[in-house]
Symmetry: C2
Subunit: 408 residues, 2 copies
C-alpha cells in the first residue's frame, strides 16, 4: 500500500516476502490432501478446452460411514480455501468456518464426513494461474483458460467421484460458495440430498460485476503485474491487489455495521492531522485488510475467481428461465439471506426461491435480520446456525442416517 501504511521498511518487507513464499509454496504443494487427475481424466472447461493435469487440494473432517451416505461438501467463497475447519498453513489462522463445523456444531463432525476443496483457479493447491503450465514449464499466469462456477463444480464432482461418493448428504456454502451450491443442485440434482446456499444468488448483478471490474483494473494497473507474468519477475502487484481488496471489503459490510463499528472515529489520535494519513479508523482498517490480503492471495487468482462469479448466470443457461434449472429436483433446499447484505440482497435469494417453487422443489427460505451485511455468513449469527442445524437434523432423519457417522 502507500504512505501511512507499514510494510515499507526492511524487516517487515522480509516478513512479507516470507509470507508470499509460503503462499506460493502452498499454491503448488499444499499441506492438505490433494488428488491429481491426469491426461485420461481432463477437466472439461466452459471455455471449450480440456484442462490437464488438474490438481484438487482438499481437507476432510469427520468419518465417512460405510455406505458413504454422510458426506457434506463445503464450498468456499471468493478468497476462501479448503481449511474450513483446520488451521491454514498460509495464515496460521484457525478454520474459516469453525463456528459452523465441529463436534455438536450445525455441520457436526461427529455425524458427518465433511469435504472442503480449494476451487480450480484458486491459489491454495488446486490448479490455478500460479500452477506450472506443463507445456511452458512456467506458471500459467493468464495462459490458464478462464474458469467458471460450472467448471469449479465439475472439478468438485471429479473429487467426489474419486472419493467413491455417489450422493452428498448436503452441499453448502456462502457467497461464491453459495453459487457453487446452486450450480451443484442444478447440474447434479441426484447427487445432492440437500443444498444450502447462503448469501448468494443464481447470477452476478451489474453492480457486482462493476465492483469486481474495479478490483481487476486496480491489479492490472499495477506495473508489478507485468501482464500477469509477475512470478517470472519474482515480484507481485502488491499495491494493486491491496486496492482491489479494499474496494471489495467495503461491499462485504453494511453501511450500518461500518457506522457502528468505526463511525467517524479517529485512529490513535486526538484530532485530524490535516494530512492524507489514515486519520479515521475505517481508513486504517481498510489499509490493513489490503496489506494482509496480498500476503495470502495470488493476484492472478483474484482475477480468475472474480471473473468466474461475473460469468455466472444460471438462468441464461436455461433459456432465461431459472425454474428450468431445477425441474423435477428431489433436492431439499434451505436458502439463507441477510437483510443488510447489499452484495447479494435477499431479493436475489428470493429469485432462486421463486424458481424453486415454480419447479415444485422442497425449499425453505430463511431471511435473517442482521447488521453484519454480506460477511454475516462467516460471523457469529446464531439464527443462521439454528436454522441450518434444524434443517440438517430433519434432513438427517428423513435420510434415515444413524445418529452418528462413527456408529455406522
Amino acid at each position: 500500500m502507500t504512505k501511512g501504511s507499514s510494510g515499507q521498511n526492511g524487516s517487515s518487507q522480509d516478513q512479507v516476502d516470507h509470507a508470499q513464499d509460503v503462499a506460493l509454496k502452498q499454491a503448488r504443494e499444499p499441506s492438505s490432501q490433494s488428488v491429481t487427475f491426469g491426461a485420461d481424466k481432463p477437466l472439461h472447461l466452459d471455455a471449450g478446452l480440456d484442462l490437464s493435469p488438474v490438481t484438487i487440494a482438499y481437507e476432510t473432517y469427520g468419518t465417512l460411514n460405510e455406505d458413504k451416505s454422510n458426506a457434506i461438501l463445503v464450498c468456499h467463497a471468493l478468497t476462501g480455501d479448503q481449511y474450513a475447519n483446520s488451521t491454514s498453513p498460509v495464515t496460521g489462522k484457525p478454520g474459516w468456518w469453525n463456528r459452523m463445523i465441529g463436534p455438536g456444531k450445525p455441520v457436526d463432525t461427529d455425524k458427518y464426513f465433511i469435504i472442503c476443496s480449494n476451487v480450480v483457479g484458486g491459489c491454495n493447491g488446486s490448479t490455478g494461474p500460479a500452477s506450472i503450465n506443463p507445456n511452458s514449464k512456467q506458471p500459467y499466469g493468464l495462459e490458464l483458460p478462464v474458469i467458471t462456477i460450472r467448471d469449479m463444480v465439475r472439478a468438485q464432482a471429479m473429487l467426489i467421484d474419486h472419493l467413491g461418493i455417489d450422493q452428498l448428504f448436503c452441499v453448502l456454502g456462502g457467497s461464491m460458495g453459495g453459487m457453487q451450491v446452486i450450480q451443484w443442485a442444478a447440474a447434479y440434482p441426484e447427487r445432492c440430498f440437500t443444498a444450502i446456499p447462503i448469501a448468494a444468488g443464481a447470477r452476478h448483478t451489474s453492480q457486482n460485476i462493476a465492483f469486481h471490474e474495479v478490483g481487476r483494473q486496480a491489479i492490472m494497473a499495477d506495473p508489478e503485474w507485468h501482464g500477469g507474468r509477475y512470478l517470472d519477475q519474482d515480484t507481485t502487484p502488491r499495491k494493486g491487489l491491496g486496492v482491489a481488496r479494499m474496494a471489495a471489503h467495503v461491499t462485504y459490510m453494511s453501511e450500518r455495521s461500518l457506522q457502528s463499528k468505526f463511525g467517524r472515529n479517529l485512529q490513535n489520535r486526538e484530532a485530524k492531522t490535516f494530512t492524507f494519513d489514515a486519520d479515521f479508523q475505517i481508513e486504517s482498517y481498510l489499509r490493513h485488510q489490503g496489506m494482509t490480503f496480498v500476503d495470502r492471495f495470488d493476484a492472478n487468482s483474484y482475477l480468475y475467481v472474480t471473473r468466474a462469479m461475473d460469468y455466472y448466470d444460471l438462468a441464461a443457461d436455461h433459456d432465461g428461465q431459472l425454474a428450468k434449472a431445477f425441474m423435477n429436483t428431489q433436492t431439499r433446499f434451505c436458502i439463507v439471506a441477510f437483510t443488510t447484505d447489499w452484495l447479494f440482497p435477499p431479493a436475489e435469494s428470493r429469485l432462486v426461491v421463486h424458481a424453486l417453487n415454480a419447479a415444485g422443489a422442497s425449499v425453505s427460505f430463511v431471511e435473517i435480520e442482521s447488521d453484519k451485511g454480506h460477511d454475516a455468513f462467516l460471523l457469529d449469527e446464531p439464527e443462521m446456525f439454528d436454522a441450518i442445524d434444524g434443517f440438517l437434523k430433519s434432513a438427517h432423519k428423513a435420510h434415515g442416517l444413524p445418529a452418528s457417522g462413527k456408529e455406522a
Copy 2:
C-alpha cells in the same frame, strides 16, 4: 487504464496529452472570470494556516439587480467546476447544470444573477495543488494544506464580498455542493435568504470515507503519482486516477439503475470471450468513465476534494448537536433527497431536517422517488425541478423581488 481499453497507442495518446495540457492550463489560467486575493486578504484555513495568494475562478449568468438582492450561488460537486451553465473549456461539454439554470428554468437567468465558483483545492482555476506555490515556484502538490468544506465556503464568502453582495437570495448545490450549502447556512445565516442542499448531508459516513480512501489509495499506488510531484516529472497517475473514478462512479448509481441500464448485457459481442476483456457493457462503461476523467481532472485535486468531504462533520463543530449549528436561523431551507441514493441516503438528509426543526427553522423536505441513485441531482428529474421552481418562486415573492432582475 489497462488491457481492453484504448488510450495506449500513439495517436490517442497525443490527444490525451493535449487534453491534459488544456486541463493544466485552465487550472492555472482559467478562461472564466477570476479574482486573486493577495497577502492583505489571506484565506484562513481550518488547518491553522493562512493561504495567500488565493485565486477564485468563477462564472456568472444573468444580471445583478441594483440592490444586489437577486444573487444565487451555485456550489459544484466533487469533480464539478464553475461552468454550471456554460461550456467547459476543458471538456468542450455544455454546462453541467443546464437543466437547472437558464431562462425560464428553476434557477432563472432572467430573474437571478447566478454565481458558480470553482472550489479551493480544485483544478479549474481556483487555487489548488496544481497551482504554483509562490515560495517554491513549483506546483504545490501535497504542500498545499488540506482544504475543508468550511475553507471552500470561506473562500466563496470572500468572492461574494468582492462582488459587493451582502445577502444571497439562494445558495444551492448537490452532493459536495450540498455540503457547502449546509455550511453556508450554518456559518453565514444572515447571508442566505434560502438554502437548497440536494443529495447531501451534514457529515461523511464511514462508508463514504471508505470509498474515498479506496480511490486515494488507488492514486497513491500508481508509481506515476511520484508522491504527488508528478507534474515536475511531466507525467500523471492516469491508471490510479482512472481506478479511483471507476470505484466512485459505481457509488453514484443505484443498483436498480445499473441493472436496468446495463444488466448483464455484453458489449458489442455475441458471447463471452472467456478473457479479461470488457465483455460486459458495465465494464466497458466504467473503463470509459475512468479514461475520460483523467483527461479533465488533476489527481492531487482528487485527493484534496475527497479529503474535504471526509473531514466534514457539522455536528462535531457544535458539541455533537447538529441543531446548535442552526439556532435562530432565518434562512428558508429546501432539503432534497432521492430514494435510491445510497451515497447520501434520505436518512442523512432527515438528520439535517430534524436538526432544522429542532432549531425552529423554516424547512421543507422533498424526498423524490427516483431510481437514478446519487447522480439524480445532475439528471433529468422533473420532480426536483418542480420542487425547486416552486420553492424559489414563493421565496421570490416573500423576498419582495421584482418579477425580473432585468426590470430592477
